[in-house]
Symmetry: D2
Subunit: 435 residues, 4 copies
């Protein structure tokens, strides 16, 4: 039963503790801006990384020690993994989890058998949820690992593969619905292309939109009211991913009339791979009222691929939490650790060190974000920077009542405007002060 | 009068010529797919690079030898430059040109004086156009060089600067209209931000949209019917540019109800800086019926900034011309050489070598593109790849009449689909064959 | 016996052929600069990519169709693969091959058994070589895939793993020697580190040098006279690879007194990942008389990892062949296709399309390089650019006989020097002319 | 006299202070590991950024407000700038400075006049040094801004330009010597190339080495005993810089017999542009006993060029200071702020905010580094990770007494080694604990 026999339930011990198996900052019931840390964070664990990531990479096989796993495709093995995972959730004190259908149950190269296996494991997970109170943040279908999807699923050149993908999404939506999942995510694994020489981009995007409209219709039909998400990512695994960043996703959603039905699930490492900061991507989504959930991790900007490292950079976590507070907090979303240990950190205990580090990093980020807001200097400087927009001139422009002729007359009558400093360095000093 | 005394009018001499001052492939009146090369290309020269680029860089001053320029801010000097430029256009046999207001006329740190100078030079340019038959592809306002715009123009935190920018756009639109410009371009020079700590992104984007709506209104008012363009670019000069790529621009245009009024002017080096290929950006724009014009150049993908090199890569020019042919050719747009010589190529004759190289590279690209289309193999393979979408199954999905339930039933009744190879390597071999 | 029944022996049919299974430029016995193409190229095929690459990636399993493989770790399966590989070599008309020990024979998680299996397969390969005349370009040991090497081999923090690596190199050198391998390569798979927090760089590099000195000693002992190579690569798989580029390798070899014993095996995609062009890396190696062999492939500079694509870019192959001609040709080295088909090109015939494309691209590159040399314009411009160095002033400096005092006197007596244009655009035009 | 009338002398006020014009962590006389912060840091200010950087960029002119500067090339203006600079040094409490010859004195396009002007300003600086006690960390010659150097100085294709460069270095060395400079730096501004089509790399590197040997000889002749440095940097301004990173510099120094005479001056933003971390570059230099001095700044890894931002990232400063402590501190070197304010931070007071932020960031970095060393956990884990190297097996290998045969026998007799976790996440948690 105890698959992590040496690991106690991780508890808050405060910043002075030297216990590597304790939280130093994440204190679930501590109130920040009147809400508990637990409710601010809504931490989720990723089934794929915790239970199914062998830590292989393109140059070598798996290193992860997983004594509970017999590496078979049996439903029994899948259920045993689920038991281990819930022990992990309990010990690490994380309330939510996320999965792909093929993480929790085997791909059996036969649609009927795979779906049957999925349903069996879903029942088992339902029992574990009930027993522990853990909840499903979101579910998704893995439409990118199997060779049939090597050229896309919703954007496959093969209509039969597209149909297969739809059937798989339906089953994953059923599973998510049954488990009370608060969201359902589309990550466009292979929705993109390798070369335009063999690709009809417009036709593929039309198909992708058709799939998403069917998902919206199906949710309505079965009474699933969870939130749909798209997760942007560039370059990987397809050289050219359609959903490359927040703007690309929003453009797609607007073009195909889907913006009312979808929000974004934004991942830090995907943002930086797209050449943006995470806070840029969050802000773009928020401006469209479309920030839904967050995949919490971090990348290595000196590397050109998705390293999915555990979030440890306090600048990063602080900036994320500033945005989350600015938004008024998550509703259906949360902070899902889409993060893996380094390949060299192959022992089970490293799973705990890694998650503890990520949770503490976000707890400190939350404290910093709240401190920035309480301190007020940064916010005041931002407000003051736009002060001219609160004058008559600015108000008229903002009201859409100005014209080029009129503004030209105004300019002719005025001296050259003198711009104030942007004060980036001072703002960074203040942020460091509060870190 | 002859500022390039050693340079003859550049003529077509065919592929065997060793004359460095001759075209080896650009034969203006040669028909390709029934249209002259001249009409396919609609080449444009960039006033800023030809006449105003001193070839300075962040580590050193200008090197360009420009004996005709007295480096003063006088209108006379500006007119003399215009004369030299038109001599250049005639000798290089380019029919179109593009300018920023501050390229053709001096910025005098006083709105009225700057506008007066602009108008004087515009009259002079009108005379030169009439005398030579050269035409204006598009005009634009430089809203990024002057310190007043250091924090943006349409997205300035200062409403007075915004107004100034509007007045400058009005004057530049007037100039473009007077010169019969076929388009008017917005490149978001400093429309972006350096740090979110001092930036209200949503408010700034609202302002930018307001400016563009005023431009649309003003065009209507003055009867200007040329095409508006937005030119996407990431990172430079603002760390975070709002118009970072085609998708970001389209998203903005859709959100603010501007998509009917704007097309995109896409530049190769901006595409690659955004992490996309040029043909990706063109295809994204075409899928939205929004490809307007092209800034022809190329970057160095080992460098992280806009090198604006002259286009010499035949793969690049072939892929661009394939897209242009696929679109049915330019209407208002063209191939504007937004390209500069390397800083070490500082002699006037290098301007000719550089443009000859770019024009020949595009002429070969056009021939390759036409050969690919005539050959048919690549097109056939692409069509065949989507064959299942032309069956009943595919047609039903494309018609929006399929559902998850129905597709699931279909999948259950079928064997596993077997995917055909994508054949990228063979396609690349065929392209090489035709190069 | 015929594992590629539909594939004939690939033959030269000339540039007009439309046969996708024919060479259009690679004509093995055609003489270029007095030497046959075959001898210029010394093409090699990579056992790992042709026979062992399932085309999996971090987001999905293998797609490659390999009907001859039973996916067992048996020696019989290994021998059968060898038979298929030699059929491939014969049909594609490639004379050389390269291998890692663990490509040709199974890793059996037991040193003695693995070595025994290796020896058995080596005997089988020896027979195949004798029967076909094919030769081994170089061998190597795979010191990066197995979990034991996850933290390095020659730079492992664990001395036992280091010893294991040495034993494996010894066995791989024995195999290479037995098969008449003309070279032996070290690619520092995991020789690097993930974080300096747990790494003693100096100590690790001392160990790596110790391993290489033992290899030199062992070669002497067994009478192996083949060439040792180091293959530079940055970032992958270790975040920080010690042998990141040519300069880093040369620095290491100089520091540890190994420069007489090693040359470099340079790969195009590794060069670009390091931020250099391939021709830069080749030139750096040649300046140290240390260019040994080439891993022929190409990357996608918009992606941040080693895509190992088949070389198709004619600019790239031309520039490589220019350097090879400049060096006077390969001695022990050759052009080894360290290249894989895209994951979507999963059919056996794609192996042929891919290699045909690569061989033709290099054949054209060789023709272009020879044409550049015959044409002479580029070489003349280069020579003329350094003309002042052939004057008395230049000669004195080059002879090491000048001093600051003397040169200052000279400068004081002279007018400001006027620099000639670097003519980059004209040079690129000439190169395009000859392509 | 008081050019910064509103700025007091910046004083330490402790972490609770909200005064933006106070140090919160840099307390010059506070002892850390028994040495004052002042002596640990040896902060330097960069004359070029503080006094001569107009904050122009490739897309716009200068924005910096510098009321003291008449923008003339007069020696009087140069002297006045020096006065302002020393007022700055006093108020910001920085002890050292660095300069290029052309920062402190005008380039007059005539060697004799420029040198005369330089000497006049040097005398003035000598007086200011005496009056204030400020010292010169290092001097250097600007061999990259003037058009004559557009194709290199020490690697110019023109021997006359090379000679000019030597004469300029001589004068800059004289100036440095006269001012008691503790070092003299070579940054290879344009020592590299744009295209290999016109470049003889080997010949150029031979020339560069000749220049450096002349510098060594000249130092000996005049009795200058300061330390020579090379500062590595990739890509900018030459596309291919010869001194691209620490390893490239060390390789060059070893090849040309210069390693005894030179150390490296390593800049954070140059390290990251080269694809390395700063701590990697420092460690590489330290392993060769060649770490001399540091240019303190930071880059934006989402941008592809040298942004030279002020260092604010506490992870970065902590890792740098860990290395500096590990080395035993600076001897001739120091922390020179080769950093500029953002273009939007154009007011004089921003110079103070920026330097205060950088100094406080390094002060915190020093405290964190000392805490990591005092805590001991990270160091202990590192030591323990290499424990097997302290056994007989490891010792024998390290002594150079092992052979492949012997190690193979050992391996055959042992079970498979089992590797311990690298514990990267735990190490990062501990670092965060101590931040
Ligand atoms: Co994710
Ligand atoms: Co990810
Ligand atoms: Co452009
Ligand atoms: Co550009
Ligand atoms: Co390789
Ligand atoms: Co590779
Ligand atoms: Co520096
Ligand atoms: Co720098």
């Amino acid at each position: 039963m105890a698959h992590f026999p040496e690991i106690p339930k991780i508890a808050y011990e405060g910043p002075k503790s030297k216990n590597p198996l304790a939280f130093k900052h994440y204190n679930p019931d501590e109130l920040i801006e009147g809400k508990s840390m637990r409710d601010h964070m809504r931490f989720g664990a990723a089934y794929w990384h915790v239970m199914r990531n062998s830590l292989s990479d393109p140059f070598g096989g798996g290193t992860a020690v997983m004594p509970w796993d017999d590496y078979s495709d049996s439903v029994d093995n899948a259920k045993k993994r689920a038991d281990v995972f819930f022990e992990f959730l309990e010990k690490i004190d994380i309330d939510y989890y996320c999965f792909h259908d093929r993480d929790i149950a085997p791909e059996l190269n036969d649609f009927n058998k795979s779906t049957e296996a999925l349903n069996a494991v879903v029942d088992h997970l339902g029992g574990l949820q009930k027993a522990t109170g853990k909840k499903l943040l979101w579910g998704t279908a893995c439409l990118f690992s199997h060779p049939r999807y090597s050229q896309g699923a919703g954007t496959s050149p093969d209509a039969r593969v597209f149909a297969y993908g739809c059937a798989q999404v339906k089953a994953a939506m059923d599973a998510t619905h049954k488990l009370g999942g608060e969201g359902y995510t589309f990550w466009g694994g292979r929705e993109g292309y390798a070369t335009l020489l063999n690709t009809d981009m417009k036709r593929e995007l039309d198909h992708l939109a058709a799939l998403m409209h069917m998902a919206v219709d199906y949710a309505k039909k079965i009474g699933y009211t969870g939130q749909f998400y798209i997760e942007p990512k560039p370059r990987e695994p397809s050289t050219h991913q359609y959903d490359s960043d927040s703007a690309a996703c929003l453009n797609f959603l607007r073009e195909y009339g889907l913006l009312d039905h979808f929000k974004l699930n934004i991942e830090t490492n995907h943002a930086t791979l797209a050449g943006h900061t995470m806070e840029h991507e969050l802000t773009v989504a928020m401006a469209a009222n479309a920030l839904g959930s967050i995949d919490a991790n971090q990348g290595d900007t000196l590397l050109g691929w998705d390293t999915d490292q555990f979030p440890s950079d306090l600048y990063g976590t602080s900036k994320v939490m500033l945005k989350v507070l600015e938004m008024g907090g998550f509703t259906t979303g949360g902070l899902n650790f889409d993060a893996k240990r380094r390949r060299e950190s192959h022992e089970p205990i490293d799973l705990f060190y890694a998650h503890i580090g990520g949770m503490d990093a976000f707890a400190r980020g939350l404290k910093v974000a709240a401190a920035v807001r309480a301190d007020g200097r940064i916010g005041d400087m931002l407000k003051k920077r736009y002060a001219t927009w609160d004058t008559d001139l600015g108000a008229k422009i903002e009201a859409g009542k100005a014209s080029f002729d009129e503004l030209t007359e105004w300019v002719k009558s005025q001296p050259e405007p003198v711009l104030a400093s942007g004060r980036q360095e001072l703002l960074e000093n203040i942020l460091n002060e509060l870190l």
